[in-house]
């Protein structure tokens, strides 16, 4: 497994059209972003948790992939508790810091929101093969094929990064600059490595562009597709489920009176 190409286990979710999955992630994210309140986030999260059973990821993969979310949420909660907009009774105050009932409620909302937005996005896309995603974008959404395929090719090239990184690091040790210099030295080495990787990938990219052109890519002839990307009833159903989750969350928040439109 590499960073770019996850191991996709055959499951119900994996067979759903990637565009449908994108649509679900979009619906939920947009709906939840419109307001910062704990009700909408909690309702959405609860509904998502129910559906996780069908997500097609093993437990280990799930926790590994959603780790960024689980790390980020507590930090955001902490920041908001200490520095968020104040309202209601003051619980604690010192200098910049002021903890109030309002900021605590806000922090809770922010935390739940991060989980509710982040988890479905990660889960849905972790079960998607990049080539299938490209097919979906180009065939279903009719995005320009040249750009979609170019991006796919770039994705594959960069997947080779990790081996290159290791080789470059070893080479630096062999040249006498692999260690030492403390923090500044480490930062400089990191920068040097990153730049070297950039050079290598741009060169490879140019060569790959030549190879792709030699295979007829980039001309004005409308191309055919060897793999068909179909948006069928099942996919429509999945999008509908996403819409239902989004709508339920919003409705619940409005009914509970906690809906707080961001742009207001």
């Amino acid at each position: 497994m590499s960073l770019m190409t996850p191991e996709i286990r055959p499951s119900v979710i994996a067979r759903v059209n990637p565009v449908a999955k994108l649509a679900v992630a979009l619906l939920i994210s947009c709906a939840l972003m419109l307001s910062i309140d704990w009700v909408s986030a909690a309702v959405a999260l609860a509904l998502e948790a129910v559906l996780l059973a069908w997500c097609g990821l093993s437990a280990r993969q799930f926790w590994l992939r959603t780790a960024p979310v689980w790390i980020a949420a507590p930090f955001a909660v902490l920041t908001t508790v200490l520095y968020g907009q104040d309202s209601g009774a003051v619980l604690f105050s010192a200098g910049f810091v002021s903890v109030t009932e309002g900021s605590v409620a806000l922090a809770l909302a922010i935390g739940l929101r991060i989980l509710a937005i982040g988890i479905p996005g990660i889960v849905l896309l972790a079960t998607t093969d990049p080539t299938d995603l490209g097919d979906g974008l180009a065939q279903v959404l009719r995005l320009p094929a040249r750009f979609v395929l170019g991006a796919l090719a770039g994705l594959r090239l960069v997947g080779m990064f990790i081996d290159d990184w290791h080789s470059l690091a070893l080479a630096r040790r062999a040249r006498g600059v692999g260690d030492g210099g403390g923090l500044r030295g480490r930062a400089r080495r990191f920068g040097g490595l990153a730049f070297a990787l950039l050079v290598l990938s741009v060169r490879r990219g140019s060569k790959l562009a030549t190879a792709m052109e030699a295979r007829g890519f980039g001309s004005d002839i409308p191309r055919t597709w060897a793999r068909e990307s179909v948006f069928g009833v099942r996919d429509g159903l999945v999008v509908a489920i996403g819409a239902v989750i989004a709508a339920t969350a919003i409705t619940a928040a409005i009914l509970a009176g906690t809906w707080h439109f961001v742009l207001a």
């Binding site: 590499s2 190409t5 093969d129 990049p130 080539t131 395929l149 796919l152 090719a153 594959r156 997947g159 080779m160 990790i162 290159d164 080789s167 470059l168 070893l170 080479a171 630096r172 040790r173 062999a174 040249r175 006498g176 600059v177 692999g178 260690d179 030492g180 040097g192 070297a196 050079v199 290598l200 060169r203 490879r204 060569k207 790959l208 030549t210 190879a211 792709m212 052109e213 030699a214 295979r215 007829g216 890519f217 001309s219 002839i221 409308p222 191309r223 055919t224 597709w225 060897a226 793999r227 068909e228």
Partner: protein
């Protein structure tokens, strides 16, 4: 499908930003179904010609064209799909992540109906001998397999003209034969015209009917049937760096045994197990195990064996860049010079004076913006400053004939120059042990001879050399001992661990100079 006809009249191309044209005044007529080998010294514009025939040189933004170059009477850019091009670097030609998808890519671009695509894919894969499932990941292929995959992708387009630009340069001998046979099979079956650029004539001699030699000064130097051109131009081509079987490069001159400093043990391995630590794990996965090896000063050891047996891993471990996965590896005092016996624990600055490593891909080692800066890195890390540093760098530049490139960026050098530079950077700190990973990969015969001569000089002054190599000629020319890794039995559910055996004694064959040194107990052959 019939072969394509190629005609050129007074054709030339100048890349944007360069002063002189890459090709000029070229006149050609290649008949459908012919098989041609294009030769010439580097700089003769062979690659440019290939790219032009494939229609991928670019438009006005990329350069200027003179004269006319036609494929089947039309400009190449108008007949994409009629021409297929396979390039040198296996990694830069794979477009998609699955084998079947990658082969189908060309057909998709040519608007072949879906019902016809997959049968073509199957046929193409069979033609090149890649017996893999369509969903097999392309990242798991070897170099030879990737080149065959690129060829399959080209063949699926059913081209009339197949162009190969040094397709076997980055492959081991096995891969070379695989690709050559695949090309032969498919071209015979389809009747397509074939044009190959390669500097190893022996590989393609019996596949092609005609040889064209390009002249760097413009036009064509020689053009005719294989045997005629080889006998007429063979010697001149060999001098220019082409590998002609009848004119192999001469072996290096070696000093007399008595003039060479006595051998001392530098590095000793007993029951050594080497392996790599996979991403995000703690323990190394063993690749080769139970190896016994002694490296002595003034001797060259060749590390050979098929792909996947861990030769590179072993070389890097002996060079102190990777930690051993097991067993015992100890540097003798002659090498360690006051440090502990484990090379992988030395600081990288200490490593500089003791072990020098030359990587397979020179570009992985480049750190500076100019050749001079590149050479100065080692001495500077050792604390050598000012005048002494400049003197050292100048001497090295001169020794490796890189003077005229002192201010150029290392990435802009040619393949042979990059290789010389990477060897030069290692020499700047005068290490006692030199470890090289595939030093002669893809080199023309001139660079090869230079490298061998340089290594022979180093050996005669007491440096030890360890080289991972597939190149039998290299082994014959230099090696005193040879460690061959053999794939081990694979236990259920896991990769096997390779084992190795050392054959000592003189392995040099071929022409031998009278003044060659002799080892006690071994006859020069």
């Amino acid at each position: 499908m019939t072969g394509a006809r190629v005609t050129a009249s007074g054709w030339g191309w100048r890349h944007a930003g360069r002063a002189r044209p890459a090709v000029s005044g070229l006149d050609l007529d290649i008949r459908p179904g012919e098989r041609v080998l294009v030769l010439g010294p580097s700089g003769a514009g062979k690659s440019t010609l290939m790219h032009a025939l494939a229609g991928v040189l670019g438009d006005d933004e990329d350069g200027d064209e003179t004269g006319e170059l036609l494929v089947d009477g039309r400009r190449p850019s108008a007949s994409r799909g009629r021409v297929g091009l396979v390039l040198q670097d296996p990694d830069s030609q794979v477009v998609l992540a699955r084998v079947g998808d990658d082969v189908a890519f060309g057909c998709e671009n040519l608007a072949v109906p879906r019902a016809e695509i997959w049968p073509r894919v199957g046929q193409a894969l069979a033609d090149v001998g890649l017996d893999l499932p369509l969903r097999h990941p392309t990242s798991a292929l070897s170099g030879g397999q990737k080149q065959r995959l690129a060829l399959a992708g080209v063949l699926a387009m059913r081209p009339g003209l197949v162009l190969l630009d040094e397709p076997t340069a980055n492959l081991d001998p096995e891969g070379v034969v695989e690709v050559r046979d695949a090309v032969l099979r498919s071209v015979e079956a389809s009747g397509a015209t074939l044009i190959v650029i390669e500097h190893r004539v022996a590989v393609w001699q019996h596949v092609v009917d005609r040889i064209i030699v390009l002249d760097p000064a413009g036009g064509v130097l020689a053009d005719g049937p294989t045997d005629t051109v080889l006998s007429a131009e063979g010697e001149r081509l060999a001098a220019a760096g082409v590998w002609i079987p009848r004119f192999p490069p001469s072996p290096p001159e070696r000093r007399d045994r008595s003039e060479v400093p006595a051998a001392e043990v530098l590095l000793r391995a007993e029951g050594l197990v080497v392996g790599r630590v996979p991403f995000a794990r703690k323990r190394a996965v063993a690749v080769a195990g139970d190896l016994d090896l002694t490296l002595e000063s003034g001797t060259a050891t060749a590390l050979t064996g098929p792909n996947g047996t861990g030769k590179s891993t072993l070389a890097l471990t002996l060079a102190g860049l990777l930690a051993p996965a097991g067993g015992h590896l100890a540097a003798a005092d002659a090498l360690a010079a006051g440090l502990g016996p484990a090379p992988h624990r030395w600081r990288s600055r200490d490593l500089l004076e003791r072990v020098g490593t030359v990587f397979q891909d020179p570009e992985h080692q480049f750190l500076a913006g100019t050749v001079r800066g590149e050479l100065a890195i080692g001495p500077r890390a050792l604390g050598l400053g000012g005048a002494a540093q400049t003197e050292l760098v100048d001497a090295l530049l001169h020794r490796l004939r890189l003077d005229h490139l002192a201010d150029a960026n290392p990435f802009t050098l040619s393949g042979g120059e990059k290789r010389r530079l990477s060897v030069a950077t290692v020499l700047a700190t005068r290490p006692r042990l030199l470890v090289l990973d595939e030093p002669t990969f893809g080199q023309d015969s001139r660079t090869w001879a230079e490298l061998v001569r340089l290594l022979a000089e180093l050996l005669d002054t007491g440096t030890a050399v360890l080289a991972v190599t597939h190149d039998e000629q290299f082994v014959s020319a230099l090696a005193d001992a040879r460690l061959t890794l053999v794939p081990g039995p694979a236990p259920a559910g896991g990769p096997g661990v390779a084992t190795g055996s050392v054959s000592a004694g003189r392995v040099a064959t071929g022409r031998v100079n009278a003044g060659l040194r002799q080892r006690t107990g071994t006859e020069p052959s």
